[in-house]
């Protein structure tokens, strides 16, 4: 029919914008990376592989990437599983708060997390300076900074919440009567766990493990700062090759390895998430959750909550405090004159041009730059994300939507460093010469933000059922009032939430920025990275002050999102 055809064209148009964007700024750059890698394959693809494998530094980086990701994942599971059990099976006071706290690390920018751990365990952190003060030592006694331990701790801090959320939520809806049935049939508690609970949890467990592995595998900022030159992963090696050595072909080969591995892992993850929706009867929380009744349960809950509090809160509190306390002597002084003291000097100095600064911009200017980029990211990602989310919300069963939905999610599984490299390789020559354009950073950030924007807009848009409009009309609202009181508030909230999301993602983004950012106009994360690498109490203080501002901005953004959220949470 005629109307059917019209509708089809209209839908295609809505898809055109986000698709065109992905084609130009995602597929074209990644394709260029692969092309550059293969250009060297004159003697066959085997030559490239042999050449890469022949380089000890690259071989080491690839090996270390897998090793640290595997180890991090294992440790994260060991910490996260008891937490998932606590959240999935028990109801207790302060559960909501604890749950909210556990998700704080996940949303924090990598540089904030790296700076937080450095402020706690690093050479100039609380622990070392405290011990030095206490025992009158000349050098830092604990060498945690620039070790594998620091990297592992930061990864656990980051990703434990994935295990708690994915496995815990699954556990919450798992019918306890299945285990009870096993017990009634004669299974001992551990047998029931092994034969019933574990197999039922397995898909959730595997999915969580894979997701954690992917994140650890592509981790960049944490390893760059906490690992130092000793520990290079593929990501860090791409960065060195591209920026320090300007060896783009080598970087491209590494990025290809990265791409293929994450693509394989993401495919497995998507399959597993599909399996998660196996036909289990989901039980309401009233049935599955029990109160803490025995002293053993209380002790377990107390111990786990304390552990989580220490793990999730200490580094961030340490960062905030360290940014307002003078612990080290200034450059020209040998010791602190009056011992540790509260100070606002680090924050005040953000707007000053320090004479020993190697930058053309002050930290204050970097803040403004970052906000400008974040604002542009919001505009771009909403302009692209809204039509896509609209289509996904209303044309879910449409063939086009089913094909394009996973396509939109691809950038999540791609490392930001690789995206940045793709921009450098692809967008520095005609027809698209954006190498010196200030648009490059917001474009890269929009690519990172787009999947999140689409995923948080879609369910919100879906809550606007025609019934709500009818209900309002039945209650006497005229068509104008229906738009004003029903449509606008619902869409408006969703838009606001997504905008804040995109804004905070852009503010904290470091991986892509590290590659495409312009040195004369640094963003806040770039500034933090540089200051952390410089000597001097003031530089360190400035890095922590900037990190604290970023942390608070992110936290405020997330709180706002929580406040304006409507209906179901984001779908992942």
């Amino acid at each position: 029919m005629n109307t059917g055809k019209m509708k089809f064209r209209w839908q295609t148009l809505l898809w055109l914008l986000p698709l065109g964007f992905l084609a130009v700024f995602y597929f074209y750059p990644l394709g260029s990376i692969l092309a550059v890698s293969l250009e060297r394959a004159e003697n066959g693809i085997g030559a490239v592989i042999l050449e890469v494998w022949g380089s000890p530094s690259i071989r080491k980086a690839v090996g270390f990437t897998f090793w640290q990701a595997g180890l991090s994942t294992l440790l994260t599971l060991m910490i996260g599983l008891p937490g998932a059990y606590l959240f999935g099976r028990y109801e207790f006071q302060g559960k909501q708060l604890l749950r909210a706290l556990t998700s704080v690390p996940f949303v924090m920018p990598t540089l904030v997390v790296a700076a937080a751990f450095d402020s706690l365990l690093g050479g100039r952190g609380w622990l070392n300076l405290g011990l030095m003060q206490l025992f009158n030592l000349d050098s830092a006694p604990i060498q945690v900074g620039q070790t594998l331990t620091a990297i592992l701790l930061a990864h656990i801090f980051y990703n434990t919440t994935i295990v708690i959320r994915l496995v815990g939520d699954f556990w919450t809806n798992l019918d306890p009567r299945l285990t009870q049935a096993a017990r009634m049939l004669g299974a001992k508690p551990w047998q029931a766990w092994l034969r019933v609970t574990l197999p039922l949890l397995a898909p959730a467990l595997l999915a969580a493990a894979l997701l954690v592995f992917i994140f650890d595998f592509t981790s960049f900022g944490v390893i760059l700062i906490l690992g130092g030159p000793k520990f290079a992963t593929i990501e860090v090696e791409i960065f060195y090759q591209a920026i320090s050595l300007f060896n783009l072909p080598a970087a491209a080969v590494l990025a290809s390895i990265q791409l293929i591995t994450t693509l394989a892992l993401t495919t497995i993850y998507t399959r597993l998430v599909g399996k998660l929706s196996r036909p289990l009867t989901r039980r309401s929380e009233q049935v599955t959750l029990q109160r803490l009744s025995t002293w053993r349960q209380r002790a377990m809950a107390g111990w786990l909550s304390t552990l989580m509090l220490v793990l999730f809160v200490t580094p961030l509190v340490s960062l905030g405090l360290r940014s307002v306390v003078q612990l080290e002597p200034e450059r020209r002084q040998r010791t602190l004159e009056e011992g540790p003291a509260l100070t606002g000097a680090f924050y005040r100095s953000l707007w000053e041009d320090s004479e020993d600064s190697m930058f053309t911009a002050t930290p204050g200017e970097a803040l403004l730059t970052s906000m400008g980029y974040a604002g542009s990211t919001v505009v771009i990602s909403l302009l692209l994300g809204f039509p896509a989310a609209w289509m996904l919300a209303w044309q879910k069963e449409d063939l086009l939507s089913r094909v394009l939905d996973p396509l939109l999610m691809l950038p999540i599984g791609t490392s930001a460093v690789t995206l940045g490299l793709g921009f450098i390789v692809a967008l520095n020559r005609p027809p698209l010469d954006l190498r010196t354009s200030p648009a490059l950073i917001p474009l890269a950030h929009s690519l990172v933000a787009l999947p999140f924007v689409v995923r948080s807009l879609t369910p919100a848009l879906r809550t606007i059922q025609p019934q709500l409009r009818q209900a309002a009309a039945m209650l006497g609202a005229n068509p104008g009032q229906v738009i004003r009181f029903i449509d606008l508030p619902l869409v408006g909230r969703a838009l606001l939430g997504s905008a804040v999301f995109a804004f905070t993602i852009s503010l904290g983004e470091f991986g892509a920025t590290a590659l495409v950012g312009r040195p004369d106009r640094p963003t806040v994360p770039m500034m933090i990275y540089r200051y952390l690498g410089q000597p001097g109490a003031l530089n360190y203080g400035r890095a922590l002050a900037l990190s604290t501002i970023l942390m608070l901005a992110t936290a405020a953004g997330m709180l706002l999102i929580e406040r304006v959220r409507v209906g179901e949470g984001a779908e992942f």
Binding site: Q467, Q470, M474, G476, A477, N478, L490, V566
Partner: protein, 344 residues
Amino acid sequence: MNGLEVIEIEKSYTPDQPVLKGIRLSQQKGEVVALLGPSGCGKSTLLAIIAGLLTPDEGEVFWQGENLAGKPPHLRKFGLMFQDYALFPHMRVAANVAFGLRMQGASSEKISQTVSETLALVGLPGFEGRDVNTLSGGEQQRVALARALAPRPGLLMLDEPLGSLDRALRAQLLDDLRGIIRTTHQTTLYVTHDQEEAYSLADRVVVMHSGRVAQIGAPREIYLSPKSAFVARFVGLTNLVRGEAQGKQANTPLGLIPLKEDTSGPVEVLLRPDAARLAGEGLTLSGRVVEVAFMGETTQLQLEVPAHGKLTFEFPSSQELPAPGEEISVVLDLGDGCQSFLVD
């Protein structure tokens, strides 16, 4: 006319499949009417037409003598409680309940007073500040009811309001609903597929069957004298025996059965479940007991009668009853004859 008048409503979504065929019904002010019918009989469509959410192809709806044709839903001053509530997810309970009053431009004191009164009426005092997304099913149902009631609608329409709740909760809410409707003398149109709900709430029941009104009457009237074999079956009277009527009796596989009214032609004869006795004089049926179901005051016996099939009868539970598998004979006390429905 001071109530609702529905005249010859026709509606079809596709040309060859009419959903409503000449619906005609009327409702007095203050009366509670139930639209009863199996799913797909068109009752929700009829409700949407009365509400103004759908336009009929033919026919008219009058309210207090006024033809509502062309009047948009928000000006009709009717209340509609949706099947899955349609609570506004971005508003708290109070704002949901206040919505209709706000649209009327009521003062804020009046609004907050009416909201708390209405919430108390539906059994949720003090729920004003709650987030509607955290309410249980029963609580959502009550908030939806409060929202529909608060603006004092001329006609309150409820679309399967208890459909998605579990059994125990349904009984409780049904009780409360009846109380609320009675104390407020609210003119109510109640759509359901559940005859118990319809019987316990309504002054009159409109039974619908594939787009037509099958019967209108008081609950007792419908149960005691269904007008068609469909209505009989739908209200749970399943003992229908095929036969050939000639005057005041019908020739059936079970023998000659006396009829209440003169009829001729192929019929289905209704044997009421309370007609059977374990001893006495009259038409005797022999069969095997298939099932014995204790219902409280009465016990249902299902008999497999060779000439016909299964028939279900009720006996007082106080008497000694046969066990499943026993071959027994029952005697039918048919009074002044059975009801019969012509087969077309």
